[in-house]
Amino acid sequence: MGVLMNKASTKISSDWGHIGLLALFILGTLVFLYDTLSESFRLENVIVILPVSALVIVLCSVQVIRQVLRTKSQRGDALGPSLDHKKIEELAAEIAPKRWIESVRIPAFMVLLGLYILGLVYVAFDFSTFLFLFLALWLQGEKHLLFGAIYAAFLAWALTLGLSYMVPFPFPTLFF
């Protein structure tokens, strides 16, 4: 049993999401560095960017290696090394609904927010705001949808009106 536990704990268990974020940082830094160097090699242009980029790439690479070589035991450290299987199952059951929320609701909310920004550009501020508020309430499981619709309409109207008084530049509206 002890040998089995030992084998399981030393098995490589990389966190690919984390590695993806680090890859994004490295890629972004490389693109930015390339763009900077194609502009000019003058010291004034690279005095900060070159050392900072180099440091970011080195630090991120070290993190990537750490993540790639991460073992199951290191991943389990956060839960506590002495937890028994029953407790782990209990914990898993407890966090399962939260996992579901995280894996479905949060990405859905992100997509909704992105569509809302697009709606501001291509539809109108007031209507997009109403739609975003209403759908966000529905997405979060609001039961009183009629009240939600009234709230969304009122807030969309009040904010659009307030913005039109406050800013001197035009923005598209459908109703107000």
């Binding site: 966190d15 999401g17 984390h18 974020l21 940082f25 972004g28 830094t29 693109v31 930015f32 763009d35 900077t36 502009e39 000019s40 003058r42 010291l43 004034e44 242009n45 005095i47 900060v48 960017i49 900072v52 980029s53 440091l55 970011v56 630090l59 991120c60 070290v62 993190q63 939260k98 929320i101 995280e102 609701r105 949060i106 909310f109 992100m110 927010l113 992105g114 809302y116 920004i117 501001l120 550009v121 705001t129 975003f132 508020l133 966000a136 309430l137 979060q140 499981g141 609001e142 709230y151 807030l155 969309a156 904010l159 307030g162 913005l163 406050m166 800013v167 530049f169 923005f171």
Partner: protein, 503 residues
């Protein structure tokens, strides 16, 4: 130091008419509201209401704008405490401990502490302004790019303090912030990292990015919860707790006074202001504390440090405006417009010829500070009801406010798109335990640090010996080095004592 004849005349001007006082209360309320709504910054509030000042005499006009300034300075701390969303960059440090306090159900206490620290900080700022307005102006004139770079570098050292769990993660986040701040046209005319997008020529707008990083990472995390404070008992709004916060502030006299002094000194430096002052003060408080591990987890001293510094910086920025005619930031730039609308030019001549008016402005601000405390008590009582709003409604509402606020700041879709992009980055960073605050600090100070470093390099011709000719720069450098080295020595000693005790 004080011209008593001018001071007496100032009292006559202020108390000879009711007109100057009529505008103070509305100004404070406007400032509190604009400061408390993420994205609607203090300069926006001042710019929106600037045209009204045409119909006022010079003194009421300036008092109206300083009232917005004062109210907004505190107002921006309210969403930082209640929702982890700093209303402006000057309240970033407030969120570090204010929000954990809210999550523990100590929101009323945290708001009381923030209000008192702001009030005391602002009062100290104006006292120093009254005593040393001329000498502060002289000192500001002696500051060059080298000193400014060192001040920015000092602020950047807070990144190290934030990445306490995993130093390299804090550093990665901070350095990424510095790189993002360099996007756009540099001070020397090179265009970098825009990928051909003309909207990025001016760079990534800092406040929408800040809102995205802070707000969204928190709001996305809150999806699926019912309220910010999960325990119903702790959700109660308690005026008694707000008053307890008022008393609790004075348990940190050193932090309060040090924060106020840091705020005035940093606030007086044009272009630096409250956004740096609150970070340096927070960093100093954490380093000097006997319990630095409590910071970031709901330590009241952290709120005291950040709020006292960001409020007292108002006094510092007014010193440069009045004595030199130089705006220290966007808010004082709007105030300078009010000066011009009344055909008044700030500077040494204005100071010598209108010292009574200058004293009137300072005295008027003392009254504002007292009024802020009274109005603020009521305002935080109402504002703290945010914790009782169901998150179903609060999350989309705050998102919409942030999007509208960012649009009003940039005047185009760059603001909302920035909020969206940085909201995704912030959420990912928080998920993998990268401190978003470190990226915000890099973003706020990176461009300034780069600009001042380039100017220093150009002036000095790349000679390090140039530093020896700048005594103020040497002092700042010494403070910077000490602030990094001392905690390391302190920690080393602590470990040695612990090891000895274990033996």
């Amino acid at each position: 130091m004080i011209d008593f004849a001018a001071l007496t005349s100032a009292f006559d001007i202020l108390f000879g008419s009711w007109q100057p006082w009529l505008v103070v209360l509305p100004g404070l309320i406007i400032g509190l509201i604009f400061g408390a709504i993420p994205g609607l910054s203090i300069p926006v509030a001042m710019a929106v209401f600037l045209p009204l000042t045409v119909y006022l005499d010079f003194l009421p006009a300036v008092l109206f704008l300083t009232a917005i300034f004062t109210g907004g300075g505190f107002g921006s701390g309210i969403p930082a405490i209640l929702m982890n969303i700093p209303g402006t960059a000057s309240a970033v440090g407030t969120a570090f401990d204010g929000y954990p306090m809210s999550q523990q159900g100590k929101h009323s206490l945290a708001l009381g502490i923030a209000l008192t620290s702001s009030t005391v900080g602002c009062a100290v700022g104006y006292i120093i302004l009254m005593l040393f307005v001329n000498s502060m102006a002289d000192a500001v004139l002696k500051l060059g790019p080298t000193e400014m770079f060192l001040v920015a570098a000092w602020g950047l050292t807070l990144i190290a303090a934030l990445g306490s769990n995993d130093f390299s993660k804090g550093l990665i986040a901070g350095l990424m912030g510095v790189l993002i701040s360099a996007i756009g046209m540099s001070g020397t005319g090179e265009v970098r990292g825009t990928m051909g997008v003309i909207y990025l020529l001016d760079g990534v707008p800092a406040v929408p990015a800040l809102i995205g990083l802070f707000a969204a990472s928190e709001l996305f995390r809150l999806i699926g919860h019912n309220y910010i404070v999960s325990d119903e008992e702790k959700r109660k709004i308690s005026f008694r707790q707000i008053l307890a916060g008022v008393r609790a502030t004075f348990r940190y006299p050193g932090t309060l006074i040090r924060g106020s002094f840091i705020g005035v000194l940093i606030g007086a430096i044009p272009g630096v202001g409250a956004s740096v002052a609150n970070l340096i003060s927070y960093s100093a408080a954490k380093r000097r504390s006997d319990h630095p591990d409590r910071f970031g987890k709901g330590e009241p001293g952290g709120v005291v440090a950040a709020e006292s510094a960001n409020s007292s910086s108002e006094g510092g920025s007014m010193a440069t405006l009045l004595a030199l005619g130089l705006p220290g930031g966007a808010a004082t730039a709007v105030m300078l417009s009010a000066f011009e609308m009344h055909n008044i030019t700030g500077g040494s001549r204005f100071m010598s010829e209108n010292l009574d008016i200058v004293y009137s402005i300072i005295l008027g601000n003392f009254a504002q500070v007292i009024l802020l405390f009274v109005v603020g008590l009521g305002f935080v009582f109402v504002a703290s009801s945010v914790v009782r709003v169901p998150l179903n409604y609060l999350i989309p509402t705050v998102f919409v406010l942030a999007i509208f606020g960012s649009f009003s700041l940039t005047g185009n879709m760059v603001g909302p798109i920035t909020v969206f992009v940085f909201s995704l980055i912030g959420w990912l960073m928080r998920r993998y335990e990268y401190p978003v605050a470190a990226m915000v600090i890099g973003l706020l100070l990176g461009k300034m640090a780069e600009g001042e470093l380039i100017r220093s390099y150009q002036i000095s011709g790349g000679q390090i010996s140039f530093l020896l000719q700048r005594p103020i720069a040497l002092v700042i450098l010494a403070l910077l080095v000490l602030s990094i080295v001392l905690p390391i020595i302190k920690g080393h000693r602590k470990n040695r004592v612990a090891r000895k005790a274990a033996l």
